[in-house]
């Protein structure tokens, strides 16, 4: 069964001049995911803006700066960063034709993602116990919604990677499917990049006043 990409390369009938070549060098799926990521980028931007708006307002109660644990969050951030490495190694593996290694790195990526999430959950429950909550003050509302949405994105990514892994184990993924890994990878890296931004803006920027 042929599943030919209709626009793998720009159309170019052989005896037409170059001007007949139309299209982009990206496949449909790759162009599509980049469009989606652009959109998601705006989504996070709005929440980051709200966080920035509210971080320096005088407000009662416990704020992030009272409860933050930089060493812990640095560790979980490091784990997420490493998951980007394992993701790109997975892609490199399938490009080499090494399905076993691809699966291995895929699993490692998902595992690192789960460790990150576990860290987030631990962190959030600790915050709640220490009085820093979603409904406590502006800082809390903006923090938990922003990082919570990021966590949901990580979760969706883990489900995605898990699905790919399952398909591969069932032999429904072949070396011709490297694009599927690449697309998942782009999403995963995006989620990592968003965390790079969040980690800096939310955790590391000095507390106001």
């Amino acid at each position: 069964m042929t599943t030919t990409e209709p626009q793998l390369e720009p159309r170019h009938a052989h005896d037409l001049e170059d001007e007949a070549a139309v299209g982009t060098p990206f496949t449909n799926a790759k162009l599509g995911i980049w469009m989606f990521l652009s959109s998601d980028f705006m989504f996070f931007g709005a929440f980051i803006a709200a966080f920035l708006l509210y971080r320096s307002r005088p407000q009662p109660g416990v704020t992030l700066f009272d409860v933050v644990d930089i060493p812990f969050t640095s560790a979980t951030s490091f784990v997420l960063l490493m998951s980007s490495l394992t993701m790109v190694l997975s892609l490199a593996a399938i490009r080499r034709g090494d399905m076993r290694r691809m699966r291995l790195w895929l699993v490692m990526t998902a595992v690192f993602g789960m460790i990150f999430l576990g860290g987030q959950i631990f962190e959030f429950t600790t915050f709640y116990r220490e009085g820093f909550t979603l409904d406590g003050n502006l800082n809390g509302s903006t923090f938990f919604v922003l990082t919570g949405l990021h966590g949901l994105h990580v979760t969706a990514g883990i489900v995605w990677l898990g699905t790919l892994w399952m398909l591969s184990v069932q032999n429904r993924l072949t070396t011709h499917d490297e694009q599927k890994i690449e697309i998942a990878g782009l999403y995963w890296h995006f989620v990592d990049v968003i965390w790079i931004v969040i980690f800096m803006i939310v955790y590391l920027v000095p507390a106001p006043g």
Binding site: T4, E9, R11, A13, P25, F26, T27, I183, L186, F199
Partner: protein
């Protein structure tokens, strides 16, 4: 009946790596010829792919940048001065953090997401878009604050 697209190769003639999962089935019988000069072949033959070692090196670089970022957090309130400038005032720290975060952003987008190796048009699109979005949010924050 024979007038048809003489230039269109039948399905079988399409190069094998043109067949891809997740793509729509042959919606066209048009010829797929050589790509235009600038664009690399989309999915395979990434001559600019790094070796696994290369990716690990990049990861190490990212770790170093992260360590620097975290280090800056510990340097908050530090009073070191250089020619009368407080090196680690809040404002400067935000600046350094911004530079480091931007560097990490560019490295991940460029090398893990392969934007550096892809067609220049996309680099331009994302750079312009990114700067545009950043400016837009600066305006919004300015209007709000």
């Amino acid at each position: 009946m024979t007038e048809a697209s003489d230039n269109a190769p039948s399905e079988e003639e399409l190069p094998p790596d043109a067949k891809e999962e997740g793509a729509v089935a042959t919606l066209t019988t048009t010829a797929v010829g050589a790509p235009p000069k600038e664009a690399p072949v989309p999915h395979s033959g990434h001559q600019h792919d790094l070796s696994p070692f290369g990716y690990v090196m990049i990861a190490l670089g990212l770790c170093v940048l992260t360590a620097l970022e975290v280090g800056l957090w510990y340097l908050e309130g530090n009073q070191t001065e250089l020619f009368g400038w407080k090196l680690f005032s809040d404002g400067w720290i935000v600046f350094y953090l911004g530079v480091l975060a931007l560097a990490k952003f560019i490295i991940v987008a460029g090398w893990y997401m392969h934007l550096a190796g892809d067609a220049p048009i996309f680099r331009r699109y994302f750079t312009v878009g990114g700067i545009g979005a950043f400016i837009l949010f600066l305006i919004v924050l300015r209007a709000l604050m």
